[in-house]
Every structure is written in structure tokens, then in C-alpha cells.
């Protein structure tokens, strides 16, 4: 509607009277809406009659067959723990907004035990939910009845092949425990989430992003081979060359097509990191610089971590002095970010002319004073280099971001769409929360792994790289006066995900409470294809039921 046009509208108000008026606008672009007739009172007691209540968490499975199932397992020597306080240990995940109680817990011992469990589960149609570190945020690793399979029981490193740079490990192991074993041989994993208690199996099932993913890809792409127990209980070894179809489905498959019990992973020689931080006040500039570095393979590690959108930190790090020197010579001058002194000066000037934002300034100062020393703890530094990046980041994340409730909606797009998408999502985040953090990172893709990426966090239009961003509002203890209802959190997530749907993005966390978005994101054809495969592989849909299907 043109701003210079006048408009007439007739409305019927709540009292049933018609009122005609003319709205004459000059320079304002006010759309004229034919409001029509008001519906019945939308908040009246009877307004929801006939409307099915939408359930975010799945209905709890609760069938009388449980007793027979437990008996069958015990006959087969599979220990199932039914004490409430043990089930309660797994009642929620890192998100802390989805709660569910399994009927019993099985601590994983080996593939044969899991095979027995899944065969019995198929026979008695009992759902089995698999859990590694429990770091999901949408209830994906929460069992709403049935069995909770605790994979951390399988946490042993089986063989380190230093010559061929690979490791065979049980898949319930935390990445940190794997790193402990590898470091003794002066080795390291390629890429893993910056969280010490992510499990290998869980990560391979969903992706796994590190600050070196722009160079080395996601964690799932470093798997060479897997031992998988299928939903019907077969124990199968798979890789790109052996049972490749199963390998394609299990990698990034959200636990739908089997339980990963062992994994062979690529490893690399361990190196400490030379870290550089650049500070921006413009999100788009920082992202553009990040993408410039990634596109030209300038650094070994890169990523963005922000304090709201006021101070945007571009992290750039190097494994070798040679690459660091090349960066300083050829690329440093092209970055638009400031050093610590520069950003402090810029922020001081900003708040000097915006004195009414003093609370925000105090928050940023307090955050800086708390966080910066954490990233430079002397016991984790040697000769100016960071020696344990995951420990440093993960401890800081748990200590300074973690709370009893977390929502971390994310978006993954092709490089071309990324800046625009992040800016839109940032506005949403800002609208809901005064304090939040944004994390952005690039992900190198493997052309030969395109089949792995179908219906995953990798967006379908990304070719060589994808970019991911996630938003983490600060809640709970970190911000005691900012407690939010589940409705608010859900609305926030929906609004972020709506942006993703509009731009054709994908998501890391599309399961659990967010699974309503799956068909909107991937389309019916892709989802139905995967659902058909799932039904074939898991006739009674017992494995990780309700996570995505």
C-alpha cells in the first residue's frame, strides 16, 4: 500500500457496531487491513473445545508388556535397573526443559548385550532411547518410558594406531577421555564439539562442530568405520566401502538406524594452538572476515563468539608457526577487527554517548573480566600457546554459560545466505533476551559424503562449505532476574527456526521438541523416503522413537 494513499475501512467492533473511518497517511507506510468481524473471544473458557492440544513432548510409553520384557532380558543375562533414583539420573538432558522417566536403565557393556536388548525390544515392542553424554537440548536423549540405554558404559579406547593415525574406540566414550588417551601418544582427534562430555557415538550421529571444522569438516566426517547394532539386533561393521548404505544412514542419522558401539576415527599429531582474538562491533563484518579466512584456508581454527551483538569476537588460531607467520604477513592487515585495547576504547566512547545503557556496559565489563582470564589460564598455556583447547573452552562454557535450563536454537546455511540469516536471527534473539551469546563456525563438506548429509544438519544447497550459528540466551544463575517460561523459550526457538524455513536452512537440533519443523525444513518427499527406510530397518519403531519421526 502506497504511503501517500488514503484508505477507507469499515470495521465491526466488539460491540457489534459498524464504524467507518478514513486514515490519511502522509509518509507512513501503514497497511490498511479489513479487520472484518471479530471471532468469538479467543481466551474464553470454551475457546479450545474441539481443538486438540498440541503436545511438545511425546506421550509416555506405558504398556503392561514391560514385565515380560524385563523377565526376558534377565533370562538373557542383561541387567536392567528399575530403581527410580537411577532412572531419575536420566530424567532430563542438558536442555533441562524436557523431562521423561524411563521404566528401566541398561548400562551398555558390549555389542552382544545391546543386540540382545534390541531383539527383545522388537519382540515386545518396547522403545529404547540411546544416550551418550546427554548433551541434547530438545529431549532427544530423554526416554519417555521404555528403556534408557546408557552408552557411557562403553567408554574404552580399544587400539591406537599411531603409524596410520587412527584409533578404534568404544562409542560411548567422551571425546575428552579419548583425548586423554591420545595425548599419551602425542596424538589428538581431528575435530569434536567444544564440550568435554560429548560422546563419540552421539556426535557421529548428529554432526559435531569444532573451531577447526572449516578446515577439517565435522566430527561425523572423520569416522572411517563403525560397528553398529541395527534396530533388529544385527551387529554390523560398516564404512564407505563395507555396508556403505548403513554407514550413510548411521552417520548423521540421529540414532534412527542403529546404535554405534565402536568407531574407527582418523587422528592427527597433537599440536598446541597459537590463538589470536579480533574484536568487532559489527556482526556482518566479523562474519565476512571469518568467511574470507575460511575461503582462503588462512587459519587452522576460526570461529565467532559474541557478547550479545555488542562485542563480536573472531577467534583465529594456528597449529604451526609457519601458517601463523603467513597469516600475519598476508592477511592480518585485511581484518577489520580491533585488538583488546581498540575495542575497549571504542566501547568506552560508545557508552560515553549512550549513558542510559550503563547496565549493558557493566554487564559487558563484568563478562570480560570473568571470561578473558578463563581463556588464558596459565596451567593451560605454554609459551603463549593454548595446550588444551577443549578443556579451556568447555570449562568456560559450563561455568559461565551453563545453567539448569538451556535452549540453543541454531541455523545452518550455505555461505552465501549466512550473514543475512544470522542478522535476522540475531534480531530475534535480541528481542527475547537482554543477554546472550552467538557462536558461528564454518564446516567443510566432503563431496563423497553427500549421501550422509541428506536430511541432516548440512543444508542441501551447501557445496564446499556450510556455516552454522547458534544462539544461547543466558538464564538461571547467570542472570538471576531473567527466568523464562517454557512457552517463551519455545516461541523463541520457533521464531529462529521460522527464519531457517524461510531461507532454506537446516538445523543441528531438529529433533525432540523441534521435530515439528522436520517436514517444513526437508519437505515431505525426503522425510517420507527416510521414514520408509526407518520402518524397514526398525519394524516396530523401537529405536530412539519420537526423536525425529
Amino acid at each position: 500500500m502506497s504511503a501517500s494513499r488514503s484508505a477507507n475501512a469499515v470495521i465491526t467492533n466488539a460491540f457489534g457496531n459498524n464504524a467507518a473511518f478514513t486514515c490519511r497517511t502522509l509518509n507512513l507506510d501503514i497497511p490498511v487491513i479489513d479487520i472484518g468481524t471479530f471471532p468469538a473471544d479467543p481466551v474464553a473458557a470454551n475457546s479450545l473445545q474441539g481443538i486438540k492440544r498440541q503436545q511438545t513432548n511425546p506421550k509416555r510409553w506405558n504398556e503392561p508388556v514391560w514385565g515380560e520384557f524385563v523377565l526376558a532380558l534377565r533370562v538373557s543375562d542383561v541387567e536392567i535397573i528399575e530403581q527410580k533414583f537411577v532412572s531419575g539420573t536420566f530424567a532430563t538432558d542438558a536442555g533441562g526443559t524436557a523431562y521423561g522417566m524411563p521404566h528401566g536403565v541398561v548400562i551398555a557393556k558390549d555389542a552382544a548385550q545391546i543386540s540382545t536388548l534390541l531383539q527383545a525390544a522388537q519382540q515386545y515392542k518396547v522403545p529404547v532411547t540411546v544416550r551418550g553424554g546427554g548433551l541434547t537440548t530438545e529431549g532427544e536423549s530423554v526416554a519417555f518410558g521404555g528403556v534408557l540405554l546408557d552408552m557411557t558404559g562403553m567408554s574404552r579406547v580399544l587400539k591406537i594406531d599411531a603409524e596410520n593415525l587412527s584409533v578404534r574406540t568404544q562409542a560411548g566414550i567422551f571425546w575428552h577421555s579419548l583425548a586423554e588417551a591420545l595425548r599419551r601418544q602425542n596424538l589428538d582427534y581431528l575435530s569434536a564439539p567444544l564440550n568435554m562430555t560429548s560422546s563419540v557415538g552421539g556426535t557421529l550421529g548428529v554432526g559435531g562442530i569444532d573451531v577447526n571444522s572449516a578446515r577439517l569438516g565435522c566430527s561425523a566426517d572423520q569416522a572411517i568405520a563403525l560397528q553398529v547394532v541395527t534396530p533388529t539386533g544385527e551387529i554390523v561393521e560398516c564404512s564407505d566401502s563395507e555396508n556403505s548404505e548403513l554407514f550413510q544412514r548411521v552417520i548423521l542419522g540421529y540414532g534412527q538406524f542403529g546404535v554405534i558401539t565402536e568407531a574407527t576415527l582418523k587422528v592427527r599429531p597433537y599440536t598446541p594452538l597459537a590463538m589470536h582474538y579480533f574484536y568487532y562491533t559489527s556482526l556482518s563484518e566479523a562474519i565476512a572476515d571469518l568467511q574470507m579466512l575460511d575461503a582462503n584456508d588462512v587459519s587452522d581454527y576460526s570461529g565467532i563468539l559474541t557478547m550479545m551483538d555488542k562485542v563480536v569476537n573472531l577467534l583465529v588460531a594456528f597449529d604451526s608457526d609457519q601458517r601463523e607467520t603467513a597469516f600475519k604477513t598476508d592477511w592480518l592487515h585485511r581484518l577489520r577487527g580491533h585488538g583488546e585495547f581498540g575495542i575497549a576504547l571504542k566501547m568506552a566512547l560508545y557508552y560515553a554517548v549512550h549513558p542510559w545503557r550503563w547496565r549493558e556496559a557493566l554487564f559487558l565489563r563484568e563478562r570480560k573480566n570473568t571470561l578473558f582470564p578463563e581463556f588464558r589460564r596459565p596451567e593451560h598455556m605454554r609459551n603463549g600457546k593454548v595446550v588444551d583447547r577443549t578443556v579451556v573452552f568447555s570449562r568456560a562454557v559450563w561455568k559461565h554459560w551453563g545453567s539448569r535450563q538451556m535452549v540453543i536454537p541454531d541455523l545452518a546455511t550455505s555461505p552465501e545466505k549466512f550473514i543475512d540469516t544470522v542478522q535476522k536471527a540475531n534480531l530475534v534473539c535480541k528481542k527475547y533476551f537482554p543477554h546472550y551469546t552467538l557462536y558461528c563456525v564454518g564446516i567443510k563438506l566432503r563431496a563423497d559424503h553427500a549421501p550422509h548429509y541428506e536430511m541432516s544438519c548440512i543444508p542441501p544447497d551447501a557445496v564446499t562449505h556450510a556455516y552454522g550459528c547458534e544462539f544461547e540466551p543466558m538464564m538461571g544463575d547467570l542472570n538471576a532476574d531473567a527466568m523464562y517460561s517454557r512457552d517463551t523459550l519455545q516461541s523463541f526457538k520457533n521464531e529462529i527456526y521460522d527464519i531457517g524455513v524461510a531461507v532454506g536452512a537446516s538445523y543441528y537440533r531438529f529433533g525432540g521438541m523441534m521435530k515439528g519443523y522436520i517436514r517444513r525444513v526437508f519437505g515431505d518427499a525426503v522425510v517420507d523416503k527416510h521414514l520408509a527406510m526407518k520402518r524397514k530397518a526398525d519394524p516396530n519403531m523401537i529405536l530412539n522413537r519420537d526423536v525425529i519421526f
Binding site: 527410580k84 531419575g88 542438558a94 557411557t152 558404559g153 586423554e180 596451567e379 570449562r395
Partner: protein, 312 residues
């Protein structure tokens, strides 16, 4: 430092598992601080957690790792306190194994020995010499073994017994303590007196540091270290940088314990723990702070094992 919190604050992050020797040995979450805290959040009683509580070695590696600042050791001793299994008592520590070299009140420093040191008089003599001989340091007649035991098991300590134990210690300037649990408690009980662990005290001495080599593997006593982790991490990091030696520190900078001197139900195998500590390491010598670790390493490796006080 914020006040310690209780089990209710556990968010289930699992960071406590990463340095827990019982977790490493069993991979059973029920036997970990995380498992105990979560179980208690869901109504578990002390009796429900009996196996878990008995398995804990009280090495303390979990506490500095906890981002929620939960009193995880207090949680174990609290559970032990409410369990009838932990009501037994050891004999009062007026052990009489060794006569005190000097009158306790007259020395500026008093040494509180542990069981292992009580059984090794030669090593004890070496320690005394390091600290200036019997005129400078006295060995307490009352080592407080029973008090340490009660602290671990959450048993209320008799007031009169405690007063008698502390009485000679209050008049000294410094107390050096071989038992990490006792050392931690003494820091609260003896305001105005410097209370340090035997490991820290010895490793601060210039003549001891001079004898350390870059090819040594240095084994920190875990209880005292974790109880004062924020301060001691700098001390040991500095030692490691100065000497160039390797240490029994994991990637979180917690001290991997042998558990040789710990009382627990045996879920952790000391030999396996020592093998893990040495995996991928080939030191020319192993230097230990805890006397019990001499035998523990000696069973598993041919590499010479020596106590910090016997380097010279």
C-alpha cells in the same frame, strides 16, 4: 570463593566423571559424584547409595572440576555419616610408633605423619633432616589417624578428643601434614597457623628442587592437591616449568591418583591405575609424595621409585 552447594545444584554435566578413578575403572555412572547427586535429587537414601559411597576413594579430583561448586566430598562423607556401615572406629592415633624427637611445643614446625610414614622410620628421619633437624621440626605424638578416619566417614568428632589433638598444634607456627584429609580440616581448625601438605612443603625446599630432573615423573599426592587446587595448581605448574619434569596430571590438571593409600571397596585396582598413569611415559625415575605410592609403582614398573624426601 562462593559457598559450597549441595547435591541439588547438580546439572548433570558429567565433568566430575572425567577425572574420577572409579568412573575410569567401572564406567558405571551410579558410582560417580554425578550419579550420586542425581540419585539424591530423585529420592535415593544413604542405603540406596551404599555401594556407590563405599567405592569412592575420596581423592577429591571431582570437586575442582565441578562448575556448580558442589561439596562432592562432603556429600560422600554425609552419606557415610547416615549409613550404619560407616560407624566403625579405628583405634585412637596415639600410636606410639615413634617417640617424638623433641618436645612438641618447642619446635616452630610440627609434622603430622600418616600410617605409611609411621611404618618407615628411615624416611621419616630423612624428612626431619630436610626441615632442619629435630630442633626445627617435631613429630606430633598424636597423629590424629582416628580423626582423619572420622572425617572421611562423616562421623562427628568428639569435642574433647579434638581439643586434645589440636592443643599442641596451636602453639606452633607451621604444621606439615602427610594426610590430605586432615590437612584440609586443620586449615579451618588452626587459624593463624600455617598448615601445608608434606608434598608442598618438601617440593618448596630448594635442596629438594635441585635434585629433581627433567626426566623425572613426579607423582602429586592427590587429596591435598585437589583440596586446595586453585592455589596449588600454580605451585606445581611452576615446579613443572622450572624442572621440566612430567607429572601425574590429566588434561584438566587434576592429579591422577594411584588410590594406594585410600580406603575404598576395591572398585579401583591400584595396579591398573598405576599402569594408566604411566601409559605413554618413559621416565628415568618416579618421584612420589605419598609413601604408599612407592610400593604401588614398584609393583608395576622396573623404573626406580623414590620418595621426594629421599632424592639426595
Amino acid at each position: 570463593m562462593n559457598a559450597k552447594r549441595n547435591y541439588s545444584a547438580c546439572s548433570g554435566c558429567s565433568l566430575c566423571l572425567l577425572s574420577c578413578p572409579v568412573w575410569r575403572s567401572t564406567h558405571d555412572i551410579r558410582l560417580t559424584p554425578h550419579g550420586r547427586a542425581k540419585a539424591m535429587q530423585h529420592g535415593a537414601s544413604a542405603n540406596d547409595l551404599r555401594e556407590s559411597v563405599e567405592s569412592c576413594t575420596l581423592c577429591g579430583a571431582c570437586e575442582p572440576a565441578c562448575p556448580e561448586n558442589i561439596d562432592l566430598l562432603g556429600m560422600v562423607s554425609g552419606l557415610r555419616a547416615s549409613s550404619p556401615l560407616f560407624k566403625r572406629r579405628v583405634e585412637v592415633g596415639m600410636d606410639g610408633v615413634l617417640p617424638a624427637p623433641t618436645d612438641e611445643i618447642s619446635t616452630p614446625t610440627i609434622l603430622l605423619i600418616d600410617h605409611a610414614l609411621a611404618e618407615n622410620p628411615a624416611l621419616l628421619e630423612s624428612i626431619i633432616q630436610h626441615f632442619g633437624g629435630s630442633l626445627a621440626i617435631g613429630v606430633a605424638r598424636d597423629s590424629g589417624f582416628d580423626i582423619s578416619h572420622d572425617l572421611c566417614d562423616g562421623i562427628a568428632i568428639d569435642e574433647e578428643r579434638l581439643a586434645n589433638f589440636l592443643s599442641p598444634l596451636k602453639t606452633t607456627l607451621r604444621v606439615i601434614v602427610a594426610d590430605g584429609h586432615l590437612q584440609h580440616a586443620l586449615k579451618t581448625w588452626l587459624p593463624g597457623v600455617t598448615v601445608v601438605s608434606l608434598g608442598e612443603a618438601l617440593s618448596t625446599l630448594p635442596q629438594v628442587r635441585q635434585q629433581l630432573r627433567d626426566s623425572d615423573f613426579y607423582v602429586i599426592e592427590s587429596v591435598a592437591f585437589h583440596r586446595d587446587h586453585a592455589r596449588l595448581i600454580s605451585h606445581y605448574d611452576n615446579l613443572r616449568l622450572t624442572i621440566g619434569c612430567t607429572m601425574n596430571l590429566d588434561l584438566q590438571r587434576m592429579a591422577i591418583p594411584t588410590t594406594a593409600s585410600a580406603r575404598h571397596s576395591g572398585k579401583v585396582n591400584v595396579d591398573d591405575q598405576v599402569r594408566w598413569i604411566l601409559e605413554g611415559r618413559q621416565p628415568s625415575r618416579i618421584v612420589v609424595e605419598d609413601v604408599a605410592d612407592i610400593a604401588a609403582f614398584g609393583r608395576v614398573t622396573d623404573t626406580p621409585v623414590v620418595h621426594l624426601a629421599n632424592l639426595i
